[in-house]
Assembly symmetry: C3
Homo-oligomer: 347 residues x 3
């Protein structure tokens, strides 16, 4: 169950720079390509001639040319030409609203009439020179909502990520959850704790002592349909924590775009934006490598969880205080789903 009248991250720009990309989003098999440098188009991945996958073709003078018989397709889903054929009567294929913004390719898999680029919420870290970003993509065999649960409750770090970001104090510290409109925030502040390995490395990466107590914070933001941005950081203890001076803290945003592929699989665009030492490319690479390992640990847990839920489809799960972030986020998704359902006809 996923809303379709919304923007999802579909790809990173490099994935379509060289050739078309076929990818299933919300059970729609879509081909993404660049009609020209800096442009992007998204079409049903189905040639109207004989059903070949257009994603196996190539872009030629702005047209997507089918790799089977050379049908040349336009960005609007109308066939432009085909060798030796009149194409006026060819059936149109579906085109999808698609935008390149903030370093990602975004697609709107639902009703194109409703697509509105301004609905993509602002990502300051993606446009400001004060930030460095790197990330990756995982295919995960689970409902994307299990990943929302996971990210809106970082209690799991203590257990899933024992050797990197987990620490005992996380689940000893209560979490606060609040909702404002379509924005859910889960926050946890741990004061005067020793930094775990990941943060030690980041402290060093920012030229700060790593062997002293810190104030640590995690502030998870859910935005529909399935984007979770997590402010994470540590400051030397007693310097103001979250509000400490830049010189006393290291601070990042964990970036998570969760895009449904099917009901039980998803594309996980993960990454991290930081605003310290932003020109240090070695540090960027090192953080990305570390994050890749940490986030792979989650996928193992979630895929097993998905299998368990499929095996016991009717069993009720618990909704504890730590689950409130996921629960409230799912409520927003449920509202979106309800809004997409056709109104019942009144007799």
């Amino acid at each position: 169950m996923y809303p379709k009248n919304t923007w999802y991250v579909a790809a990173t720009p490099d994935e379509i720079d060289e050739k078309p990309l076929g990818r299933t989003i919300c059970d729609e098999k879509i081909v993404f390509y660049r009609p020209a440098a800096g442009q992007v188009a998204a079409l049903e991945d189905f040639c109207p001639h004989r059903g070949a996958a257009l994603s196996l073709g190539q872009v030629c003078e702005g047209k997507l040319v089918c790799g089977y018989h050379g049908l040349a397709m336009g960005c609007d889903g109308k066939t432009i030409s085909m060798p030796g054929q009149r194409v006026q009567g060819f059936p149109k294929i579906r085109s999808y609203p698609v935008v390149e913004k903030y370093g990602f390719i975004w697609v709107w898999p639902g009703d194109a009439q409703l697509a509105d680029e301004s609905k993509i919420h602002h990502l300051e870290w993606a446009v400001s020179g004060d930030w460095a970003y790197a990330g990756g993509l995982y295919h995960v065999a689970c409902d994307y909502r299990l990943m929302i649960d996971n990210l809106m409750d970082l209690t799991h770090e203590t257990y899933v990520h024992t050797t990197s970001i987990g620490q005992k104090e996380i689940d000893e510290t209560p979490v606060a959850t609040k909702s404002e409109g379509d924005h859910v925030v889960t926050s946890r502040f741990m004061n005067n704790v020793m930094p775990p390995p990941f943060w030690k490395a980041n402290l060093r990466g920012n030229g700060l002592a790593d062997d002293v107590p810190v104030d640590r914070w995690q502030v998870c933001h859910f935005h529909p349909p399935s984007h979770v941005m997590i402010e994470v950081g540590v400051a030397h203890a007693g310097k103001g924590g979250y509000d400490a001076d830049a010189k006393d803290k290291v601070y990042s945003i964990v970036v998570d775009f969760l895009t449904p592929e099917t009901e039980t699989s998803m594309w996980y665009f993960w990454g991290m934006a930081r605003n310290f030492n932003v020109k240090d490319k070695a540090l960027t690479a090192q953080i990305k490598e570390g994050q890749a390992k940490v986030f792979a640990e989650d996928t193992v847990v979630l895929e097993e969880q998905q299998r368990n839920l499929l095996r016991h489809p009717t069993r009720k799960l618990l909704m504890l205080n730590i689950d409130a972030g996921g629960v409230q986020s799912r409520r927003i998704i449920d509202r979106m789903l309800a809004a997409e359902r056709p109104s019942p006809v009144v007799a």
Copy 2:
């Protein structure tokens, strides 16, 4: 949907020389073996004792001996003996008409009463010393009829086989399709064009200049149930093209036996017969290697096409002039299928 009262290529002789071969043809799981040198038999791959696969057994003194408990099976599907057992009452298993001819093992998966070896159409290149042949086998996850479409319309060479046999002039040249009884012919003649890489190599292979314009032809022959023989060649331009003297041309027959495995998978016996330089084994090997690469390109396209068609089972495809060869071939198959259906009972 495939006719069953017909001959299909089931295997190449070398596949059964050493030991029995289990292979599914038209959804029938069959074991092929040699009761004696030069002979061939085909049985249901199911031991009447406990259902073991007879193809895991071995041939011993003309009998197919089950690899589980030693039941010895005859070519007619009757158990001959079993250690310590009386076998008279053992149920018979099905035997299939099977023939070795033209360098292939042919099987008739339908009603054995109707099998008639003379219905295998003559293959001159397979019996004449003037020809050399080599080929291979691919398993392809698509309806065999998608491969018929592919082979009866070579327009796709321009797009699928860009680096070997494709050239722009193919789809600039109109194709002619005609049907005579159960024989469909699609032909295309391209005059005064430069030979593509594959034909340059063949021209050199036959001692002809490869840097001059040629007249090129493609004549595709469909014979039921699913055999496509394609006459392909080039002659130095202006020497008579298809009808040029042997010394001025290189000429081959692309051999395609398409054997259904299931509704959505097939065995693709592909090869090439040539009548120039027939004793040059290095050339034979080189052509086979080149063809293997070219034909692998098709399988990628067709498997994706099959997935797309399964995803959209009711969507209508276009039938253009270039598709006429496939369309007319499928009509012949449809007639065969209709003939196999039991007559409706008239009240």
Copy 3:
């Protein structure tokens, strides 16, 4: 179809020494773990909080701690604690009777009320210092009853294990089958035959001449639900065979615990216990390696047989005299299955 109110071998002790083990037995996904050294527990592999697999967690101070959010589970399926939570109202998960005995972990996947450790039948070779044992585990994609058939009729050795334990005399010698209560015995005695390679090696391993005729025996014992112990051995011919003095024979017990995973897959715990040269670890390793190869030959045959039976679900199989061991064993299983069915309600 498998009885559930019975003991099955679920694992070997080493599989749970380091960390919990998730394994499906009779379609129940179970986590096995050691609450303390020498203890064993078995629970539904499903965390009551959010459905995570408990088998991904770890044991901490006797509790199975979920690897997702730290819920601490007790051996009885009741949650003991969870960081920051009151757990009294948490739903209980299922616990399974489980025992470590005779070098194996045994589980009772059915009604726990009926579990009775004394129903595990005695295994002398597992407790006596006169015996050495080694074995392994295979996952086999077949109904466990096909493996019972296989083991209760060793005629197949001649055909499946031609290079190790098979020999022509096996199926030239009649087999005797008898049933006593829930115990089925199939026996075959071959006198004055040459030992096959496996037995030659064992004769040498016990310091006996290997190039002389032997009396060979195979006595297969079925015990419910699916345990087959096979007494196998050879004695120098004329020394008394099965009853010969220890100095004139080599004698082993082939150990087979067949545990259903699903209707069409199983866990095959195989091994061999011998009472000669029991301290020779190199011999133990060599026998295990040889047996691993021999038993892998069976899995190929049985997995193909299973595929054939699924393809022809209604076809009747033969039940010959050699099949009597399997047939009688299956009758015992059928009785157990009938006993587990709820009584029909009489109106």
